[in-house]
Amino acid sequence: MVNPKGITASLYVTCIVDQLYPQVGVSVVNVLRKLGVHVEFPVDQSCCGQPLFNSGYVSQARELALRVIESFKDSEYIVVPSGSCAAMFREFYPGLFESDPKLHKLAQDFSKKVYEFSEFLVEVLNVNQVKSSSDGLHTFHTSCHMLRELGVKNQPLSLLEGVQGIQTVDLPHRDVCCGFGGTFSVKYPHISEAMLSDKVDNVLSTSCDILVSCDMSCLMNIGGALTRNKSEIKVKHLAEILDEESS
């Protein structure tokens, strides 16, 4: 497929993917290119500021927001492999600058260009199927911000179902929080762990081989507990699944 629409997407990679799961970023680039999209990566991008914003440090979050907005000022579409960071951009950035009309407009214009990865594929590229294949039984965890802030619900599921020969199973209580919540997980570890333990039980109950999601922060949380419980279940970002092709 050669870029029929002449679309250029700028990748916002997210801290966690950049630092801990770079292969997810590589897969996002591969999938977008496979679909004919020209991919750019503004290298001076920084953290979206969500950890600060969620901890009440709004003025510091504002500083980072300005930096991100600046890095993407020439972008047409901004693709984010995380429902959570995308929600920060789209739902919270404009509110950070409510008292300054000029910056507010800038933040609004920026936020309109932001798409979560699966949302970009389905809503902008009109793609419901990406040529790919993946072995094993898959189940999908819906991340909270993606579902409730962005309203992205069915797009990742339809993309997953579109994978050739894929086997899937419903995750019970798929839309219940995994207990991560950023600093919540270390400020109130007992609550976070209790929530996580329910999530892990639900994942284990599916007997799946692979747990898929669109947020590596949830997957770091759930995956970390799975390996600790000596489970063989692997966690993967949807982009990684769509990047796989049987040779």
């Binding site: 290298v43 440090y57 980072l64 570890p189 007992h190």
Partner: protein, 484 residues
């Protein structure tokens, strides 16, 4: 005022999670209440539900924006119907009004139907100190009164108790044989309370709604106890918060659809009582006096703050508690005051002291399930964020409550993130340093907090050799459009 224990959140939530009986009791919340709510919505369709929610929100927005106007209308119409309206600025004033009425009318026995505002005021203690015998008549409230406890849920006050615990309590306090059968326990309570209803001089009720155009107080119950409290004794005192007023009976219809479905999944509760004034000359029964006490107690402070105002739209249905994964784990008492759960984490810090309740806005993963469940679409997560900001970066002169070390961490984080060069160096050092902690491809223990807290129950992934930035620079960037 009811005792405030918000400072103990950390310790009480830790204890709650370890309490096996509480765990068992809390199981009803998710599968029971929230499940019933979902079914009730399914029955009438999502679209219809959405339509009602929008309507209800519109009514609340309008009423709260014009609260003085509707309170005035309510005042006029209650008075016209022969009732008395009292405004109380705080708990002391409200309790003083009740005390005066108790003394002037020589009250000996009072029956009460469920009222969260009276819990807020600590009214039972005040009545007891005046020598009044007070009986809670809602079964759940009766149970916790016997146990000497406080409610743990907005709708089901004794939710934290298992059947077995209630049976032991009844055996202990009422001297009846141990019996876990709920019907039998309810029957015992009803028999005891019937006698109190007949002899009470005073009935105290809360209000689910106050209808401005008719001057009516509306209570909805499943046990019919509310109706007995408001009609059998010679005096009826209704106590409620000022945000409970709605303009008209037509508006009431919208809320009567939303509230029972959100609370228990019922289409309608068994009893809906609309009380307007005391007994009229033509009435066969009913109280001789009707007093309505409208309580502020911190609410006008929320009204004045545009960011927190929508917390006053709450109809106390409890849906946000039932769906909340945190409430489901820690239960209501951990929150330390009358109003628990997500909405409690907004209301409690505002009606008590924010600085002493600073855990409440933070003890949330911000998953947003509460907002999704709320029949009035109250944006609870957004208000939690506002309170967090107020706590760490207050605009006023009030001192920030964040730990100094957290402030420093936030500032250095910002600096670090703005200079990816420094970050890169840090990552390189860490990649090298992780070696001693690596075990089977993951990091399962790090001795430094906060990572040590994380790794007590989960592994961390191994830091990769290269960040995405490096991979892009080294190999991805130049491949552009090669594999089209």
């Amino acid at each position: 005022m009811a005792e405030i224990k918000t400072k103990n959140f950390l310790a009480s939530s830790q204890m709650a999670i370890k309490d096996p009986q509480l765990r068992q009791a809390l199981e009803k919340v998710g599968t029971g209440f929230d499940g019933a709510r979902r079914e009730a919505i399914e029955e009438i369709s999502e679209a219809k539900w959405e339509e009602w929610r929008l309507k209800a929100r519109e009514i609340k927005e309008h009423t709260i924006e014009n609260l003085d106007y509707y309170l005035d209308m309510l005042y006029t119409n209650v008075t016209k119907a022969g009732g008395h309206v009292h405004f109380a600025r705080d708990d002391n004033e409200a309790n003083a009004i009740v005390s005066k009425l108790v003394e002037a009318n020589n009250i000996q026995i009072a029956t009460k139907s469920k009222s969260m505002v009276s819990e807020e005021l600590g009214l039972n203690g005040v009545l007891e100190s005046l020598g009044v015998d007070v009986y809670e008549t809602d079964l759940g409230e009766y149970i916790i009164q016997l146990a000497g406890e406080t409610p743990s849920h907005l709708v089901a006050p004794a939710l934290h108790k298992t059947k077995g615990q209630v049976a032991s309590l009844f055996q202990d306090k009422l001297g009846i044989p141990y019996n876990e059968d709920i019907e039998a326990m309810a029957k015992t309570a009803r028999e005891i309370l019937r006698d109190k209803f007949l002899n009470a001089d005073l009935g105290i009720s809360g209000a689910n709604f106050l209808v401005a155009e008719t001057g009516s107080l509306v209570i909805i119950t499943n046990e019919g106890n509310g109706r007995l409290c408001t009609s059998a004794p010679r005096i009826h005192i209704g106590i409620t918060g000022m945000e409970k007023v709605i303009p008209s009976l037509e508006d009431l219809a919208t809320f009567l659809r939303l509230l029972p479905r959100s609370a228990t999944g019922q289409r309608l509760t068994s009893y809906v009582s609309i009380v307007t004034g005391p007994r009229r000359v033509t009435d066969e029964d009913g109280p001789e006096q009707f007093h309505l006490i409208i309580v502020d107690n911190g609410r006008s402070k929320m009204l004045a703050d545009p960011k927190l105002r929508e917390a006053l739209y709450c109809i106390r249905c409890g849906a946000c508690l039932n769906i909340c994964p945190v409430y489901q784990k820690v239960g209501g008492h951990a929150y330390g005051w009358v109003y628990p759960g997500p909405i409690g984490s907004i209301v409690t810090p505002n009606l008590t002291v924010l600085q002493n309740a600073k855990d409440l806005p933070f003890a949330s993963s911000l998953c947003g399930a509460c907002r999704e469940a709320c029949p009035i679409k109250i944006n609870i997560p957004r208000m939690l964020l506002n309170l967090r900001e107020e706590l760490v970066q207050p605009n006023s002169n009030a001192n920030s409550t964040s730990k100094f070390s957290e402030d420093i961490a936030a500032k250095s984080y910002t600096k670090l993130m703005k200079h990816p060069g420094i970050l890169k160096l840090g990552t390189m050092i860490l990649t090298g340093l992780q070696k001693p902690f690596l075990k089977g491809g993951v990091i399962s223990s790090v001795p430094i907090p906060p990572l040590s807290i994380w790794t007590r129950s989960r592994d961390l992934p191994k830091l990769p050799d290269k960040t995405f930035h490096q991979i892009w620079k080294d190999s991805l960037k130049d491949n552009q459009d090669n594999n089209g």
